[in-house]
Structure formats: C-alpha cells, structure tokens
Amino acid sequence: MAATLHRAAVAMRAGVPFLLGLLLAVLSFVPYGSPEFSVIMPSLTLPLVYYWTLYRAEAMPLAAAFAIGLWQDILVGGPLGLMALLLVVTRGVIESQRQVLLTQPFAVGWMGFALISAALSALAWSLAGLWWDHAFAVWPFIAHWGLGTAAYVPLAVGFRQIDKLLYEKA
C-alpha cells in the first residue's frame, strides 16, 4: 500500500512540469486586450522545456515535450506539428548538451537559451514561410525572441521554486 502510494506520488510529481506546460501554453492565448502584444507574446513553453530538460530531464520526457507542442499547435490553429517539432528539437539538443551546461553558471544557461531560441525562431520562421508560402515579416519573430529571452529569467526562478518544492522538500 505504502509502495503504491509512493509510486503514485512519484508519478504525480513527474507530471507537474507537463501540466505546467499545458497551462503555460494556454496563457499565451488568453485575451490580454492588445492585438499588438498577442502577436509578439513569447512562447512560455520553450523556457519550460529548456529548464526542465536541463535541470530535471526525467521530468520532461520527449513525449511530454511533443504533447505540449501539439497542444500549442491546436490552440494556434495553424499547422499541426510545428510547435511540437520545435519543442522536441529543444528537448533533444539540450539533453545532448546537459553535461556542459549543468556545470556553468546561470548566466551561461540563459545565454544557451537565448541561442537555441534564436535558432528555433529562425527555424519556425522558415517552416511557417514554407507551409504558408509566404515571407513573414521578421520583426515579430525578433520581438518574440527578445521577449522570450527576457521572460526566461523570471520563469526559471519560478521553475526553480517548483523544482525545490517537488524534489528537494519531498
């Protein structure tokens, strides 16, 4: 009985980052009353996948990153698979670089996020351009990237608190 409860608690704990990802995806779409802001609203799921893959990879499996991305694609109403691809790539790339990034101070991790999100913005811009057969304006992607990079710091602080709550105090 105790073992079952323990397993259930572990499973619930592991599911928190995934549920948080679904929630953050929704927060990008609630009406903020500003069409300009909604265009450059940063993706909150990218910092999430980056953070949890880097610091707690077992809590952010590939399937979870894929599902969060797919959920975001459904909310956008555009091509299915675009955000899923970006988050899966993030998960894969960061996992391969964990050994290096984990030994670095937070600022380097932040720079790593800035770099990968810039690369993913360029990839998203290219894929979306191909999918819609349209050359999208670049500035929304730059603003999107800039805001996302700025948002990483407070989000990472929040994730760190959740991480502590889930794993270090448990």
């Binding site: 956008v76 109403g77 999918w131």
Partner: protein
C-alpha cells in the same frame, strides 16, 4: 540530479546511444509528418482541428477568466481616474448619436415608402448569435480567435463575424461547442469589397498587419483616404454592404484599410447565420439559428440586407449613410480630397434622397466641415 550519458558514454555503449536517439528521431519524424499532413490535407486538418478546439476552447476560457477579470479591473481603474473627461466625451458622443438616430429613423421611413412604391419585397434580416471570444490570436503566424459557440448553436463555416462596428472575420473551423474565426488581418483572409464613394470593387487582402491591403482595384481607381469600404457580396461568401473600414493609406497601387472593427476589444462578437452561395444557380438561404442554451449566447438580428436570393447589385449603392462612427472618414485637410458626399456649393444637387443622405449626415458631425462642404 540524474545526468544522461554524453558522447563518451555513447561511444562506450553504442546501444544506449541508439536507444536515446531513436525516440528523438521518431518524434521529429512524427512532427514533420503532421506538418506535411496538415499541408496536403487541409480539409482533413480542419476537421481534426474542429474536434480539438472543442477541447481547447473551454480550457482557455476557464484559465482566461482571471486575466479577463484583471483586465476589467484595470479598465475600471483607468475609467475612474479619467471619469470627468470620459463623462464629457460620452455626453458629446451621445448627443451626436442622437442626431444620427433621428436621421436614421427618417431615412428608414423614406426607405420603407420608396420600397413600397417600387414594390420591393420586404428585406430579410439575417439572424445572428452573440458569442464570447475566448482567445487572442497569440503568436506571429495566425490571426484567429476562438469563439464560445459552435455547430451546436448554429455556427457554420464561412459565416461572417462582426463586432458592433464592422466585419471582424469569418468562421474557418467549427467544432460542436466552439469555433475559430479568421480575422480580416490574417494573411489567408480574402474578402470581396467595394469602395462606397467610387463603387470600385476589390479584394481586401490580409497580410498579418493591422491594416489589410485593398487589392485588385480597377486600373483607374481613385481611392483616397477616408473612403468607406463595405463588403460587396461578390462570390456569395459574404453578404453585401457590411461595413469593413475606411481607406487610411494610399500610395500608388498600395491602398490600405483601417478596419472599423476594434480588434483590441473583442470580448463579444456576432456570428451571422449567412449561408454562403456555393453555386451561382443556387440561392443561399438564411437559416434560422438553433436557440441558444448557454448563458453567453443571445439571438439577435443582424443588419438589414436584401433578400439573400438576390444577386449582388451591379452598382453598389448604399441605402443609407454609414451610421457607424468608426466608419466616418476624417475631415480631409485638402478640399480637393473631400469625399463626394459633402457636396460643394458648385456641385450638382444630389439625384435622390440616397445621394443626399451622406451630405446631411456629415453636417451632423460636430467636427468642423471642410471649406466649401456641408450644409
């Protein structure tokens, strides 16, 4: 904290490296597969999304409540701080609208008399439902919003979506309980329109900017800033004469339109139960909507329009002046750029009450009339 194996570990244990890479390759392939699927089978993609938005919309709706409440509180605070100015502005606007209302009522009476004289059949009114907007566009790709009403409440694909001032967009994906509307600003949005002053027809083309382009105008088009733009009804997808916006940028062939609809305040919108004309020989029929069951939906009647069985008029002539403040063109600084509606003393008298109406309506504005114009 667990650390996954790096290059050294994979070299030492190639099977483990493969086991790590294979899932990654599979998920990347599935994502690409979905991208290609949604490109090749757009109809199927829409059907899938129609099912999925029924899951997404209620979640967004519930989670958006706190944000909406905070936004509402912010608006209340701002209104309170600017209370005196706001009251004065609203009083002035109320007076102006009262005069417009009188004009509208008089013209409505005249219109009814003329229709009776010409034995024109009664106009049908397109029913519409008012529904809540549950999501912002969100992101740089798509300009679309989720609505809290779907097929269960009579919403159908291609139906026009309006706010009190004008056209917002059209329904593109329909679920049972929710639907998605593509805004006029989206790069996939194309609607046939005409310029009221000149009668020139064109296509309003969204390009993800906040001011869509007016394309395919006639070569000799004399569109100018302040011209009112309405749906033409060409193609039968949209009803005719719905207000769209005003021309606010002209530079050579580039004409841009400022939308009458306020896309920053889309809390509620009306979905018109207009059935698109699918084949030229078929007449679209305005179907009655299912009675709403949800608290956020109320049946209303849309703006008057000719019977939907009618073909769009060859020469678009509006039955009445625009009574929508957002559509009234700004007073041009250059008298040469004045709309024809505000006739100069040298201008020939209007041929009919319809022609005279814009001039009368303009005279009601408290904005100073341009030189030589007005009453």
């Amino acid at each position: 904290m667990r650390r996954s194996g790096g290059r050294a570990a994979r070299t030492a244990n190639p099977e483990r490296g493969l086991a790590q890479r294979l899932p990654f390759a599979i998920f990347v392939a599935v994502s690409f597969g979905l991208l290609i699927f949604s490109k090749i089978y757009p109809t199927l993609n829409e059907q899938v999304q129609g099912v999925l938005i029924d899951v997404a919309a209620p979640v967004v709706d519930v989670l958006g409540e706190p944000v909406t409440a905070i936004r509402g509180f912010g608006t209340v605070v701002a209104d309170t701080l600017n209370g005196a100015e706001k009251v004065e502005a609203l009083r002035a606007e109320n007076e102006r609208l009262q005069r417009w209302r009188n004009v509208a009522m008089r013209l409505d009476g005249e219109n009814a008399q003329l229709r009776a004289l010409m034995r024109v059949s009664d106009e049908m009114q397109i029913p519409s439902i008012s529904t809540r907007v549950v999501s912002d566009p969100g992101g740089p790709f798509v300009r679309a919003i989720l609505l809290d009403a779907g097929a269960g409440k009579g919403v159908g694909k291609f139906q026009p979506v309006m706010d009190p001032s004008g056209v917002v967009g059209r329904i593109v994906t329909v679920g049972r309980q929710s639907s998605r509307a593509l805004l006029l600003t989206d790069l996939n949005s194309r609607i046939p329109v005409f310029i009221r002053r000149t009668g020139d027809r064109g296509i309003l083309v969204g390009d993800n900017s906040d001011r869509p382009k007016l394309a395919y105008l006639p070569m000799q088009s004399s569109a100018r800033i302040g011209d009112e733009v309405f749906t033409s009804g060409d193609g039968g997808i949209f009803p005719s004469k719905l207000p769209v916006g005003i021309v606010d940028f002209v530079d050579g062939d580039t004409v841009r339109v400022k939308l009458a609809a306020d896309l920053s305040r889309l809390d509620f919108v009306n979905v018109m139960a207009y059935v698109p004309l699918e084949k030229p020989e078929q007449s679209p029929v305005a179907q009655p909507l299912a009675l709403p069951s949800g608290p956020s939906v109320a049946v209303e009647t849309g703006p008057e329009r000719p019977p939907v069985a009618f073909a769009p008029p060859a020469d678009p002539v509006l039955p009445s002046p625009s009574l929508i403040p957002a559509l009234r063109p700004p007073a041009p600084a250059d008298p040469a750029a004045m709309p024809e509606a505000s006739a100069t003393p040298e201008s020939p008298p209007p041929a009919s009450a319809e022609d005279a109406a814009p001039a009368e309506a303009e005279s009601l504005d408290e904005t100073p009339a341009p030189s030589g114009g007005g009453t």
